[in-house]
């Protein structure tokens, strides 16, 4: 436990001093503000372009924007923000293995599972803070300009994104137990996501896949309910635990 506490404190200091946490927070704050801002500005933008569009034969009527548009932006922008976070964290383990910075600490009795779990905790904290901050900003401005009560399943959709992020972070933990570089981890994550997307094309298994949790646009519109996603939630949670549980023995056997 003392090893975990000491190494976790080091991880948080690293996130702050290397400005990783700052960059992550800025990205998510920008996205959080942009979601309602883009929705708010859409009518003005379309109006500005209406003359051009009219000359091309397109007639634009009056555009009404609601809180739903703001939340649809959230669903659209979240993948890019999550990808940015995953890129930032892809080398969190492998850089320590390749530089050899862990060696002095491991020879002092720090266990490898402490290393895995404290880094995981730091990533979860950063992801949770950033994601819910982004969610909160979109929530606040959407409610300020329009009315959030028109949008369905807000909290569940947020939870879905958060859980999917956890799965991706667990995937970093798992891949790092045998990968040699951040690039290899990124390729592995890309392949995992691609495989889920391909599998999602088969409608039979779609509802079981973690990618189901990313259908927040459909949830906001009220076309998909939380009850339809229970299986995906369970499978995503179980898969995350398996990734982390498998990473521990693999990392213990890993040559450093």
């Amino acid at each position: 436990m003392k090893g975990f506490a000491a190494f976790f404190a080091k991880e948080m200091l690293e996130l702050v001093r290397t400005k990783k946490l700052l960059i992550i927070l800025i990205v998510f704050i920008v996205v959080g503000i942009m979601n309602p801002a883009v929705a708010k500005l859409t009518p003005a933008l379309i109006e500005m372009m209406s003359e051009d569009l009219a000359s091309q034969g397109m007639i634009v009527g009056k555009v009404t924007v609601t809180a739903l548009d703001s939340w649809l932006q959230f669903a659209k922008n979240m993948p890019a923000a999550l990808a940015a976070l995953l890129i930032m964290f892809s080398g969190i383990y492998t850089s320590e293995y390749s530089k050899g910075t862990l060696i002095p600490l491991l020879t002092k009795g720090l266990s490898r599972s402490c290393v895995i779990l404290s880094k995981l905790s730091a990533m979860i904290i950063a992801w949770s803070a950033a994601m819910w901050l982004c969610f909160g900003l979109t929530y606040f401005y959407s409610d300020y300009y329009w009315d959030n009560s028109q949008v369905h399943g807000l909290l569940f959709a947020g939870f879905g994104w958060w859980l999917f992020g956890l799965l991706m972070i667990s995937c970093i933990v798992f891949l790092s137990s045998f990968a040699n570089s951040a690039a290899q981890v990124m390729i592995g994550i890309g392949a995992f996501y691609f495989a889920m997307t391909i599998a999602g094309m088969l409608s039979k298994i779609k509802k079981y896949l973690p990618t189901r949790l990313l259908d927040s646009g459909v949830i906001f519109k009220g076309e998909l309910y939380a009850s339809d996603c229970i299986k995906a939630v369970i499978i995503t949670s179980v898969l995350s635990v398996i990734f982390v549980a498998a990473a521990i023995p693999l990392t213990i056997r890993r040559r450093l």
């Binding site: 060696i103 002095p104 020879t107 009795g109």
Partner: protein, 302 residues
């Protein structure tokens, strides 16, 4: 139970693919000694040390630290070993004090004694006035911090992997001084290919060659191996060379200097007597101790 050997290797072998790096290495390190682990680059010194720390799986044999078998992937018994890697890498965003505090927290030293211990060690390695972060440190400063972190929990065994190899003479002297002062409280195993460092601080040595221990013993055993000293004489007048060579038939002329190999103290006195009696002017007379390098070359048959 009385533990005679702090570290014991029995018939340790390790291959990487087809390349055999360690081939039945056996040696033991008794308490309270500075043990020099000598070998050329690529002889397998680092491999041996990593195996001792449980960072590398060995193919066969056994390693015991304080009588306990070392198991791959498991950490050494808490507090028993301090390790200084050949190129120590730290977290560049920390200061030396913060890094030592992290190490101390991992080993479970309580907060109050940790602060005193950090002060002590930073003074010992001369980093007590250094306020900058580690990323700006020179190689020598990192090496000194490396020793400090290795000593934080007062280990009974300190393992240093080539601590002086990449340093300038001043840096090397600093590190050797710190190792010498550490030996009061701990046994030290340090690997190197710089033999003069071994002569300065070690009480026992083992020479690793082709994955085997070619020689192992105390520093006195090493000196006993010495086959003698040589005399080197530079004469003021080259015409005198013949006179001296006639009297000392072993002498050979190399680059205008007369070299008498394996000369005893008596030979030296006789040479001086011969020169003074005949009033032969000289420029220089030197005695050369056989260097450790030469002895080890003989041991490994090169």
């Amino acid at each position: 139970m009385i533990i005679l050997s702090i570290l014991e290797l029995k018939n340790v072998s390790k291959s990487f693919g087809n390349k055999s790096v360690l081939n039945g290495v056996s040696f033991s390190v008794p308490e309270n000694c500075v043990f020099g682990f000598i070998g050329q680059n690529g002889a397998g010194k680092t491999t041996t040390m990593r195996a001792v720390l449980g960072l590398l799986r060995i193919d066969s044999g056994q390693i015991n630290v304080f009588g306990d078998k070392v198991i791959y992937g498991c950490n050494p018994k808490n507090g028993s070993i301090g390790f200084l890697p050949d190129v120590p890498e730290f977290y560049g965003y920390m200061t030396a004090r913060e890094y030592l505090t992290l190490c101390g927290n991992i080993t479970g030293i309580d907060r109050k004694s940790l602060k005193t211990r950090c002060d002590e060690l930073l003074r010992l390695v001369g980093l007590n006035n250094e306020k900058h972060r580690i990323k700006g440190y020179s190689r020598g400063m990192k090496q000194r911090l490396g020793i400090a972190q290795a000593l934080i929990n007062r280990p009974k065994l300190l393992i240093c992997d080539e601590p002086t190899s990449a340093l300038d003479p001043v840096g090397r002297k600093d590190i050797l001084d710190i190792i010498s002062s550490a030996k009061k409280h701990t046994s030290v195993v340090f690997s190197t290919h710089i033999l003069s460092d071994v002569e300065k601080v070690c009480s026992r040595v083992a020479l690793l060659e082709n994955g085997k221990i070619a020689f192992s013993g105390t520093i006195e055993d090493v000196h006993a191996l010495k086959t003698g000293t040589s005399l080197e004489l530079t004469l003021a007048d080259q015409n005198d060379v013949k006179k001296v060579s006639a009297a000392f038939p072993d002498a050979s002329l190399i680059d205008g200097r007369l070299v008498i190999p394996k000369a005893s103290d008596k030979d030296c006195a006789e040479l001086m007597k011969f020169l003074s009696e005949r009033m032969i002017p000289i420029i220089r007379l030197e005695r050369h101790e056989e260097a450790l390098e030469d002895m080890f070359m003989e041991v490994i048959g090169k």
